[in-house]
């Protein structure tokens, strides 16, 4: 009756049922607790990741299982000007948008860190662009960028800045910049709120000490705020770079890669070739070609920025 593990004193209380005792077994409990999460991630993340890499080396199309073709897909892509342009634009888009997001986001965070009325309301409002579905705000930008009825064109014509409507998304370079602006607009809130959290962890005594030493505001920013913000900056930047580089929604909603394929990011090109185009192998090859960039960006932003933290001799956590 009594379990092997049950000590003598348990006789005074009710014996737990067999099921309850099974759940008190630590090894069993660990397996039960981890099973759903690990199972889901293995089935729908790890396996597809491997499958995607395998698909990239086959000529699979929709409705026909492919055969192994080696690096033929990649050889073809290396000579494809549309693919090369998408690589260029992905790197350019990520670089400029990240720079803009972090510059403006840091500025906004510093502003919000001041003593302000209605602080929490302000923070809630500022997060809105990040909360609202990206596609829906992208549609709003599409309307703002409309060739005929753009409100910005209307304003600039009213103020006499331009003669006719501004061209936002009908030629290559304006379209590229318009998309980058929309991406920065969407990214600022997240960067600002995350960095604000970092700013609030900096001890005020550091600023007091610096003030007593006669530091100027710029010196205080340069030698206290910036280094202390570095660990959070590294993490937020890693995330931001990864999700900007693999961005899909904004471009798909506003230009769908046009005009004349000039604004394709690698993700939108992979989609276009893979799903509506049916060339699953080629689409997968484009998606796999993103991986080296992502690994490099992650290592660069994480180790490049996080190293500063070790140099300061903070605890390694």
């Amino acid at each position: 009756m009594s379990a092997t593990t049950a000590p003598v004193w348990t006789k005074t209380r009710q014996q737990p049922g067999a099921l309850a005792r099974l759940f008190d077994n630590k090894a069993f409990l660990i397996i039960v607790c981890l099973a759903p999460a690990v199972g889901l991630l293995m089935t729908f993340l790890t396996y597809p990741l491997g499958l995607g890499i395998w698909l990239a080396f086959t000529d699979t199309t929709i409705g026909r299982p492919g055969i192994w073709v080696g690096i033929e897909n990649f050889e073809f892509l290396m000579e494809d000007p549309i693919f090369l342009n998408s690589v260029f634009y992905s790197v350019f888009y990520t670089a400029v948008a990240t720079f803009g997001k972090f510059g403006l986001g840091l500025w906004l965070a510093l502003l919000l860190n001041q003593h302000l009325p209605m602080k929490s309301l302000l923070r809630a409002i500022i997060l809105l662009p990040w909360i609202v579905p990206t596609v829906l705000s992208a549609i709003a930008f599409w309307w703002i960028y409309d060739p005929q009825f753009s409100i910005i064109s209307y304003l600039s014509m009213k103020m006499g800045l331009t003669e006719g409507p501004i061209d936002f998304i009908n030629t290559a370079w304006p379209a590229r910049w318009s998309l980058i602006f929309a991406n920065i607009w969407r990214g600022i809130p997240f960067v600002a709120i995350s960095l604000l959290a970092g700013l609030q962890t900096i001890s005020p005594s550091l600023y007091e000490a610096a003030l007593l030493d006669g530091a100027t505001p710029w010196q205080r920013f340069r030698h206290i705020t910036f280094p202390m913000l570095m660990p959070i900056l590294a993490i937020v930047m890693t995330f931001s770079i990864i999700f900007t580089f693999t961005d899909f929604q904004l471009v798909y909603a506003i230009t769908r890669g046009g005009p004349v394929n000039s604004t394709h990011l690698m993700a939108t090109l992979a989609f276009q070739r893979g799903i509506p185009g049916g060339q699953l192998g080629e689409g997968a090859a484009i998606a796999v070609a993103m991986i080296p960039f992502l690994v490099f960006a992650t290592l660069f932003s994480y180790f490049g920025l996080a190293r500063r933290k070790w140099q300061q001799g903070e605890s390694n956590d």
Binding site: V38, P133, L136, P204, Y207, L212, F248
Partner: protein, 299 residues
């Protein structure tokens, strides 16, 4: 906490007389309020424009010469009526709601258990399991959607809501687990030890002590999951084909954009209605949201 930043400023005013100029009113206006107002204007303008367009009659919408585009002279509900009665918009909303709630429930369940196992049932290698789950968050959906599409077809889930309910946890579980590990860490372990001494089983501890204390963490993980699933686009675009199974973001872009003449009024009304549930949901829990966002980043 929020006032910590204000403290050094007031100190500087008394400690160093030359710093008084920093706090002078005009300088504060130029350095603080003007840039802040510009930020707010730019960040909020698209929403204002969305709202204005959604309630404008078509006659005003395309005629900037006689009507001031920034204001509505005769507001109308035509676009919203068109959306609700002439399209399957209510159905899309319902599908999106269903998918988001199911995916959120599934991810919350599995990530709570996983976070509890990693943080509380410490076993050898638990850190590495945590790290692996965290790294899974760094794999973006843009890389996975093509192989997942082939899997979804083979599993017979193509064009069903289950395709989305089962794939959304791939990006929800890593984040929720990460957030909840941080949250469980903040609950004193002594409470659980007391319960163990009193003879509670592990399951009783989880149900009666840890989970009730972790409710704020669970709420914010739930908000994250709900908003992320509501906003998800690429999987919903790739795995769903028939009009009635589409989610709101995909349906607006693929079903409402017809031909060369865009129905901007209906498009904006659809975007506004599609954003509202998330915005309302989020406004109730904004404090949890911000604190967990900042808390998660601090980890």
């Amino acid at each position: 906490m929020t006032d910590a930043a204000a403290a050094p400023q007031s100190n500087t005013a008394t400690a160093a007389p030359e710093m008084l100029s920093w706090d002078s009113k005009s300088r504060r206006v130029v350095m603080l309020y003007v840039p802040l107002a510009c930020f707010l204007l730019i960040l909020l303008f698209p929403f204002y424009w969305m709202t204005v367009t959604a309630f404008k009659p078509n006659a005003e919408l395309y005629d900037y010469a006689t009507h001031n585009p920034f204001w509505i002279t005769s507001p109308t509900l035509d676009h919203i009526r068109h959306l609700l009665f002439n399209t399957s918009y209510p159905h899309w909303l319902w599908t999106t709601m269903l998918v988001s709630i199911a995916a959120t429930f599934l991810s919350l369940l599995s990530s709570t258990l996983a976070a509890y196992a990693i943080q509380r049932l410490r076993f050898r290698g638990s850190q590495y399991v945590g790290l692996a789950i965290y790294l899974a968050y760094l794999v973006p959906p843009s890389i996975l959607f093509i192989p997942l599409a082939t899997m979804v077809v083979r599993l017979g889930l193509f064009d069903t809501p289950f395709a989305l309910i089962l794939t959304y946890p791939t990006f929800l579980v890593p984040f929720c687990t990460w957030l909840l590990i941080g949250y469980f860490k903040s609950i004193p372990y002594e409470l659980e030890e007391c319960a163990l001494i009193d003879g509670a089983s592990r399951l009783q501890i989880l149900r009666q002590i840890t989970l009730p204390l972790a409710i704020p963490g669970l709420i914010s993980a739930g908000i994250f999951s709900f908003t992320l699933s509501w906003n998800e686009f690429i999987y919903a675009l790739a795995f769903i084909q028939s009009s009635e199974n589409k989610t709101v973001p995909v349906a607006i872009l693929t079903e409402l954009v017809t031909g060369d003449v865009y129905q901007w009024g209906a498009l904006m009304a659809g975007s506004l209605l599609g954003s509202l549930p998330v915005a309302i949901f989020y406004s109730f829990f904004v404090d949890y949201y911000v604190s967990s966002l900042t808390g998660a980043v601090k980890e």
